[in-house]
Every structure is written in structure tokens, then in C-alpha cells.
Subunit: 600 residues, 2 copies
């Protein structure tokens, strides 16, 4: 029915024209990531996504992961073989450190690759994604010996990693973590307790699983400053890397979820039979700090899940709209010949909405990824700091806005299918169900919005926020001054939206200082305001490039014209939401807080 085709033209347009891939390729260590090499890598990844991952997506959803009576977990038919092929092809190590066997590609390129995995089979990709989180943590705070022992197989993908944060009473609030870690005479610890929502906590892909676990030592202070990070392997590992005895950690059940059925979400029991052997990773009582640093990466990836799912939902909707014949095309065919529904104006509006949002999210995501590369590798410390400030501001926006927007895009994907969209076999509903988790895990949208308002924006008194808004305003003014009708229209709308954003920034800075509750009641509309304006910013930049390329007679003219039309649609149909969000921010909070808890 519908086969995933990676949008390579748009990916490369965004990487080259908006995110500055050729400059990234001049950074130390990234010299091999030239646009030509990257094009080859993306092409190869797209084949893997199309040929191996996409065909397993629906069957994996139907079959789901199964816990067997012995506590092992069987992944759906074909997943283990696909994982082995993924690892053998080297995909697990694309952006991992070369020192441990990775290919050390820029984050910008990795973002494009992971978009494809998410699009083709998000439930599959959660395993490599969680492994990446565990690798990042070990690399960040592990000892040289720990890195040497655990990172090479994890980078290769022959072992996977998990992140064990949540407990029944400790979700968004990690201060409430209770899992105990008792020091042993040999310097190791024994862990006792239960963790929930552990993605790929147990599976049949690999021989070993490396669990990273938040827990408290007996002498730890209460709250977030008493949480340490431990490494708990499923099978103990001796000095030469061989697997030893089974550790005291078990998957005791799997959750029955709305989506991502193929991905086992485990309840993990530690220490039911004497204690799970664990090793302290990083400093005692500072586990949460390490966790928060690597969480930026994970949150970015979840934002890219939004992009991938949106792209896939869009492609399926377009395929269906092209082949489904129903009704007559108003105002085109007077003889009333039955038409494919893609000819109907409202279907067009839905497809354009899906397309415009997806392209805007992709552009924002890749531009942020490029800033991550610059923040790590730019030559001047001041440059690095400036890029890092931009990244810090953008992470909650990419995570929050791309995941919220993916809800609407996947919703429309179902809607384009009409009644068939509600039938599971069609496949459209799965993207919508799978997408439903992404506004929740790695911090809900509310948590992202609190991070944006309470940390990222206020810690420099809004300096970065204002700087970015001024940059957007400059783009808007430049486009509004153009003769080209599309650029002009885009510029005018972007200028209005940016003015609303700037007003909201000022309001938010003043309010958060004076009345934090009032400010936080508007934090999610504020995040969405940032998102829709930043998306418009990138689409405006894209339209300008496209107009220039057309004038120069360069590039694919059809692609450039499509980009301009899509950017204009975004500016005229979607960007007006900015003013509505801004209004909700600056005047909605008192109403949101007016009732007592009993009045609900």
C-alpha cells in the first residue's frame, strides 16, 4: 500500500542550505562529513529504512513484544534479524566516539539518519536510542576502566543499554526515587527495588544488557542531591569482557500500551534474590546531574521522532489520497468524473498542513543539531558558548513543539483516510498511537515548558531568547522588503508572529520573577509560540534560498517552487497561531489558576 521513501531531497536541502553542513565538515574531527559523503550515507540509510525496517512496522505493532514465563522477552517476528543486520551494517555507531569503534559523524547527519529510523519503525529504533543514552552517560562520567569494558560492545551494538529512572512514585519528580544501593566490601554495590517504564529493559536482540539505574546509597541526603547512578549488567562482565553469571535483575512484566507495541516496556525488579550487583558511575549523589546533561540528547531525539512519524504519516496519506477515488473535483471537472481525493480542496489543506509542519520541524531540528556540533567543536570558546546557549534554548522547543505538532500531523493522516483510517489494518492509526507517547516520555510537554521558562530562559535573563527573537525578526524584515510576492507575504506574517513572541518573552521574564505560578500556567502556550515561530523562521529562510536558487537557475526548480509554496502556506495558515498562543500566555494564566482544587 504505502512504502516509506526517505525525503532525501529535503533532508539534503536543509542540511546544506539551512544547517551549514559544509561548515560543519570543517570542524575538527568532522572533516570526512562532506556533503557528497553524507549524501551517500543518507542514501544507504534510506535503503535500510525502506527495505528492512518499514516492512516490519505494522507486523511488529500487531504482534507486540511478549514476556515468556521464564522472564525472557520475545520481540516480534523479524526484529531480532533486523537488529543484527542494523548492527552488522554499522548503523549503531554512526555518531559514537571513534575511540570506542564509532564513526563519529556530526550530530547533524545523525539527526537525518535517526529521522529515517523513527519514520520507518519507531518501536525498533527505541532500542538503539536507549543504548545511545546509556553510552552518553558512561562516556560522560564513567572511569577509564568502565569505558574500556562497556563502551566498545555498546557502540558496536552487540550489547544494548537502558535508562532506569522511573519508579511508581517517581515519574517527573526524580527526587522521589527510592531504589536502594548498598555498598559492598569489594567496592561494588547491591541494588534493591523496582523500576517501571523501562524501554527494552529485556529483549532477545543481544547477549547482554547494560542497565543504568538511579538509586540512593544508605547515607544519601534526601531529594535530588542524594541520587547516584549505577551500572547494572544483566550478565556480569569479567576483566577481559567475557560474560559471567546472571545478575539479580529480572523483567517481571511488560506494559500493555496504546502504541509502540513492538517495543517492550518493562517493569524491572532488582535484588529480589540477594541483590543486583552494580557499579557506581560518576560521583556519588551526583547521578542526576549526569542524567540531565545527557537528557538533552535524548530529548532532541524524541523531537526527531515527531519529525519521522509526521513524515511517514504524510507519505501514507498522500499515497492513499492519490489512489482513493471518491466524489468529484469541485471547480475543476465540470463533467463530474470521479476523482482521486487528492483533488478535493480540504484534502489538499490537510496534506499541506502535514507537509508544512513536517518540513518546518525537520528544518528546526537539523539547525539545532548543527548547533550541537558547533557547540562541541567550534574553534573559539565564545563561539561554542553561543551555540550551546542556542541549543539549550532550543532543546525544550524541539522536544515539546515537534512532539505536540506530530499529534496533529498523525491525526490528519488518519483523517485523510476517512473511515479506513479507523481500521487498524490500514496502518494510518498506528502512527497516531505510536506518536502519543512522545509528548510524555523524556519529560512531558509541561516539563519541557517549565525547563524553557524556569531554566533556559531565565538563567541569562532572557538574553539568548531575545537574541534569537531578534535574529528571526531580521529575517522577517528582510523578506517583507522583497518584491517577490511569496517572500513578501511570508515576511509580513513572520514579522507579526515575531512581534507576538517578543511581547510574550517580555511578559514571561517579568512574570516569572514576580509570580512564578502565573508564568508557568502559560508555559505550554509559550513553548508552542516559540515552536510555531521558529518553524516559520526556518521555512522563511528556506523560501529565500529557493527564490534565490530559482533566480540563479540552480537546483531542482520543481523542488524550489514546492518549497516556496509550502513555506507560504505555513506562514499564512499555520503561523497565525502565534498570536493566539501569545494571547493565551499573557492573559490566560489568571483564569487557569482561578479555581480551587475542589471546584474542578
Amino acid at each position: 500500500m504505502s512504502t516509506y521513501r526517505a525525503p532525501l531531497s529535503d533532508m539534503q536541502f536543509v542540511m546544506n542550505e539551512l544547517a551549514g553542513l559544509s561548515e560543519i565538515a570543517t570542524l575538527p574531527g568532522y572533516e570526512e562529513a562532506t556533503p557528497d559523503t553524507v549524501a551517500v550515507i543518507l542514501e544507504e540509510a534510506s535503503r535500510f529504512a525502506t527495505d528492512v525496517l518499514d516492512p516490519l512496522n505494522a507486523s511488529g505493532d500487531r504482534e507486540g513484544a511478549t514476556r515468556l514465563p521464564d522472564g525472557s522477552v520475545r520481540t516480534p517476528e523479524g526484529f531480532k534479524a533486523a537488529y543484527e543486520q542494523f548492527v552488522q551494517s554499522g548503523w549503531n555507531g554512526v555518531n559514537k566516539p571513534a575511540a570506542y569503534g564509532g564513526q563519529h559523524l556530526p550530530q547533524l547527519v545523525a539527526a537525518g539518519i535517526e529521522e529515517m529510523w523513527h519514520a520507518a519503525n519507531m518501536a525498533f529504533d527505541l532500542c538503539p536510542l536507549l543504548t545511545q543514552g546509556a553510552i552518553d552517560a558512561i562516556e560522560l562520567v564513567g572511569t577509564p576502566e568502565q569505558k574500556a569494558r562497556f563502551l566498545p560492545p555498546m557502540v558496536a551494538g552487540t550489547w544494548t543499554g537502558t535508562m532506569n529512572l522511573t519508579e511508581p512514585q517517581a515519574g517527573s519528580d526524580l527526587a522521589a526515587v527510592r531504589m536502594r544501593a548498598e555498598p559492598q566490601a569489594d567496592g561494588t554495590y547491591k541494588l534493591y527495588g523496582q523500576k517501571i517504564f523501562i524501554t527494552y529493559g529485556e529483549h532477545d536482540f543481544t547477549d547482554n544488557i547494560i542497565h543504568l539505574v538511579l538509586a540512593r546509597t544508605p547515607d544519601a541526603p534526601a531529594g535530588v542531591k542524594g541520587i547516584s547512578l549505577f551500572l547494572v549488567p544483566k550478565f556480569l562482565v569479567d576483566e577481559n569482557g567475557s560474560l559471567g553469571r546472571r545478575n539479580d535483575v529480572q523483567c517481571v512484566s511488560l506494559e500493555h500500551k496504546l502504541g509502540i507495541h513492538a517495543s517492550p516496556t518493562a517493569v524491572m525488579a532488582y535484588g529480589d534474590h540477594g541483590g543486583a550487583v552494580g557499579y557506581l558511575i560518576g560521583e556519588k549523589n551526583r547521578g542526576l546531574e549526569a542524567m540531565f546533561i545527557m537528557m538533552n540528547q535524548a530529548r532532541f531525539s524524541v523531537g526527531m521522532e515527531g519529525v519521522g512519524l509526521s513524515e511517514r504519516a504524510y507519505q501514507r496519506a498522500v499515497d492513499y489520497a492519490r489512489q482513493r477515488v471518491q466524489g468529484r473535483a469541485v471547480g475543476i471537472d465540470k463533467q463530474g468524473k470521479p476523482a482521486p481525493i487528492i483533488e478535493h480542496p480540504d484534502i489538499r489543506r490537510m496534506l499541506m498542513t502535514m507537509r508544512a509542519y513536517t518540513e518546518a520541524m525537520r528544518a528546526l531540528g537539523y539547525v539545532t543539531a548543527a548547533a550541537m556540533d558547533n557547540a562541541r567543536h567550534a574553534r573559539e570558546p565564545s563561539e561554542r558558548a553561543q551555540h550551546q546557549a542556542f541549543v539549550d534554548l532550543m532543546i525544550p522547543i524541539v522536544k515539546g513543539w515537534c512532539t505536540e505538532t506530530a499529534q496533529e500531523v498523525t491525526y490528519l493522516g488518519v483523517q485523510v483516510h476517512g473511515g479506513m483510517g479507523f481500521i487498524e489494518e490500514t496502518g494510518a492509526a498506528q502512527y497516531s498511537r505510536d506518536a502519543r507517547i512522545i509528548t510524555i516520555y523524556e519529560g512531558t510537554t509541561g516539563i519541557q515548558a517549565n525547563d524553557l521558562v524556569g531554566r533556559k530562559m531565565t538563567r541569562d535573563d532572557g538574553a539568548t531568547a531575545k537574541r534569537v527573537a531578534a535574529q528571526i525578526d531580521k529575517v522577517a524584515a528582510h523578506l517583507a522588503s522583497q518584491d517577490d510576492a511569496s517572500l513578501n507575504a511570508i515576511g509580513v506574517r513572520l514579522a507579526a508572529a515575531t512581534a507576538a513572541l517578543q511581547n510574550a518573552i517580555d511578559w514571561m521574564l517579568a512574570s516569572y520573577a514576580a509570580k512564578p505560578r502565573t508564568a508557568l500556567a502559560g508555559s505550554v502556550p509559550y513553548l508552542n509560540l516559540w515552536g510555531v515561530v521558529c518553524g516559520g523562521w526556518q521555512m522563511a529562510r528556506a523560501a529565500k534560498v529557493a527564490v534565490d536558487r530559482l533566480a540563479q537557475g540552480e537546483g531542482d526548480a520543481t523542488f524550489m517552487r514546492t518549497k516556496i509554496a509550502t513555506a507560504r502556506f505555513y506562514a499564512e495558515s499555520l503561523l497565525p497561531l502565534a498570536e493566539a498562543y501569545a494571547q493565551a500566555v499573557v492573559s490566560g494564566s489568571p483564569g487557569a489558576l482561578a479555581l480551587t482544587a475542589e471546584q474542578f
Copy 2:
């Protein structure tokens, strides 16, 4: 965990203060529907919803309906008994004609009752709802003999009814219906063909099922003017009403759906074994006209499904937010005691959004229901015509906007639950899955929007639309002139939103005449614009009543204050969407239509 409690205070407030129940009770035939009697009836219905239907909702979803090898269908455990109790208590006949055993309550009261069924167990209520559609059709165009034979058991609920419209190639476009009906010598017909998406097409509730089926006679012209309506009983019925032989109609499979699992959605095969005996209902070739008249009722009911699901999702979210302890309440508790999440500002914003939308939808739905009563029974023909014009305009808005809004409300219901929302056992996700069908069946939102623009608005050159907008504007101006700060704020926001609506009406009238495709590309934002403004209109009226009651020292003061705060939140946080929708209407269409089909 969470038990449904019908929002009787708000229901009665809306019926009495906004929808004019006491005036409805003066209409011929409705004399018994006094506010006091209605209060007793609503109270009884709420008990049935709470005690019988709500407890079966989650188990029905888990178990689903099952087709057995013999073609019969088993509904989930407890459903058959609940249906029998429903029928015995007389709930099936509340708004049915007294002549056939019904209680002939006003539509206004029936709307409140059906909201409760939808809230407690929408999958269950689809059976009575479809029966109602079939009753309406038979009552509208059946012969006296047909009415006498079929209506009494259908009104009692001892037989149910179905509506058979859709075929694989004929969904939104009923002109493509192919089912054949061949006349027989005895005046009956034999039907041949397949229908899909038949809700409760087969089940174990009752001894007989009366299928209403769209089909073509051999001499019928092509297109919509060649479709006739046939009555096809599962078991033939003799003159004295006894069941005869099994008819040639079979459920050949059930769909595997995203939601409403307890409700069997059947593929029905007619005439595989010699022909299904059917009776022409109404005039030959005019089946679609009858269908469209009764569709108003069905579309209204689907809008009320949006209200019911939203209310239920809201209640579950509030229950969870009260009991789930997580984090500290910013700006309230400096000692940092763990707080229930209802104290967090963003949770408040979500709950207020759910609450405000739900109340606005309820008010708009009930006011429309009252107009349906007036349109049928008001004494003066001119009054009836004016009410009917209002109803006609509102039906696509109630159907389209309430169902679209229910997506957001049920989405937020999951979001309030965080990670637990994604786990099916929690129950929050079911409302969201169930809600997913309501923007599709009985005409997608796009179909509603086409109806609004292409029929309801243009057939009187926008006269009714402009009249209603002027009415809203008057309310806005009145409130904006008040000293009360809340009323003033509501009035100001409503005035701005109404201005945007009026501008969009003018644009739409001009555009539809000149460029129908351009107009229709903006039709869904236009419908949403109408919806959000009409919701704001009703909330503004409610706030005014509440302020007056408080001043008079009448009514429940806490209820009145809550209503004012909720209306203000609606005006300040949700109503600003009006301008964004209007912008999309008046400037978004060219972009929506800019690409060729190949460019997608």
C-alpha cells in the same frame, strides 16, 4: 479509580438558563417536560449511566465484539444484560413518538440524556443511536402499515435498527452506491450486494434487527437521484408481528478498529443465497433525500458524543490529578511538601482547557437541541422557520467542532496522566481512541464544512449566518459595556472574535460564488472559527447569568463563580484561536491549492 458522575448541575443550568427549558415545556406535546420533572428524569438517567454503563466501558473495550463461526456476533460480557435493562427501563423510547410507545420528551432533554450514555459507554450507546436513525427514517417516509409493523418494537428497543449506506467504493460519495434491488412480483424486492462499516449490523441483544439499506433498482438513473431506501429485516415479520424465516443477510466479518471495540462494525452480505427480501421505504429513487433529513439528527448525536467523551475524559483526569502526588507546588508551598499534581500550574491549564471546552460544547449542543424543539413545535410558522434555519446552520458546526474539539480534550485527558496515560489499563487512552471515529462517521469534518459553506450558508446568501453573528456581537457588546471585570474581559475578547467571524463570512460568501475551490480549501478552519466563537457566545451568556444570579443571591454561589472563571478562561485562552482560524480562511487557500498532485 474513576466513576462517572453526570454533571447534573451544569446540565440543568444550561437547560434552564441558556436553552429555555421552561419555554420548551409550553410547546404543544411537551407540557410534561417541566424543569422539575426533567430534573427527576436526568437524575434517574445519571444513575443508570453510573451504575450500569460506566462499569462496562473498559471491560467492553478489552473484550470487544466477536464474530462466531456461524456468523452470529457476541457482544462483550454484560452488554446484553445492560441492554435488556436499558430497554426495560424505557430509556430507548425517551424522545420517540408517543404513538409508537415512546415518551416524546423534548430533544433538549434527550440531548442531556444521550450525553450521559455517550460519556459512560459510547460503544454501547451506538446501538440505540442507530436504532433511532432507522426509526426516524421509517417514521419520515414509511407507509402506515410499515410504521405499525416495525416501529413499536423498535421504539421499545426489543428490535434494533441499522443504517446501511457505505460500500467499499461509496463512502462520502453515496452517488457511487451499487447495491442492487430487484423488484419481485409480490411488490417486495430482492437485494444483492455488500455493505461495510455497519454499526451493530449483527449482535446478540435482540431477536430481530431491522436494516435500512440504500440500493438501486434496475431502472434507476445513475448518481444520487437513483438511490432508494429499503427495509430488510434479519428475520421476516408476518402481519401480526411474529418472526418468520431468516432473511438472506449475513454478517461476514467484523472490523478491527482503533476504538469503540465493544461495538460490532460489520461487513454485511445481502443476497448471497438467493436474495435478501426488502421493502421499499418511501419513494423510489428518493432514498437519499430521506437519509439527509434524518442525518441532521444523527450528526447532532455525534456532536453530543464529543461532549460526552470530553466530560468523561475530564472527570477521569481530575480524579487522577487529585490523587497523584508528584513534585512540589511552585509558589505555594515553600517547604516543598509533595503535592497532588492538580496544584501544578500546567495541570491546571490542561484541566481548565478540558472543562471550558466541554461546557462550551454542551451549551452549544443543548441550545441547538432547544432550537430543534422549537423548529418542530413552535406555534407560528415563521418562528418555526427561523429556528429551523438556525438548526440547519448549527448542525455541521455542532457535529464538526464538537468532534474536533473532543480530540483535543481527550488528548489532554491522557496528557494529565503522564506515563500512566499511555498504559491501557488506566482507561484514559480509551476515550481518545473512541473519540477518533467521531470526526469521521456521519460525514467527516471536511464534509460538514462543505455542508456549512456550500449549502447551509449560501442557500440564503448568508442571511442566517449574518443574523447569528449579529446576535453574538450584541452579546459581546453588552458584556463589554459591563463594569464587572470578568464580563468586561469576556465581552472584549468575544467582540474581537466575532469581528473575525464576520469578516470571514463576507470573504466566504464572495469567494464561494467566484472560486468554490478556494472557498472550500478554507472550509474547515471556517467551521472551527464558527465553533469556537459560538462556544464563546454560550459561555458569555452563561457568565452573564451567573453574575446576575450572584448579585441576586440566587442559585449555588460556588457554581456561579466557577462558571464565571471558566467562561473567562475560555475567552482569554481559547477564543483567541478565532483570529488564527479567520486568518487561515481568508489567506490560506491559495497556498493550500498551490501544488499539483504530483508535487506532494
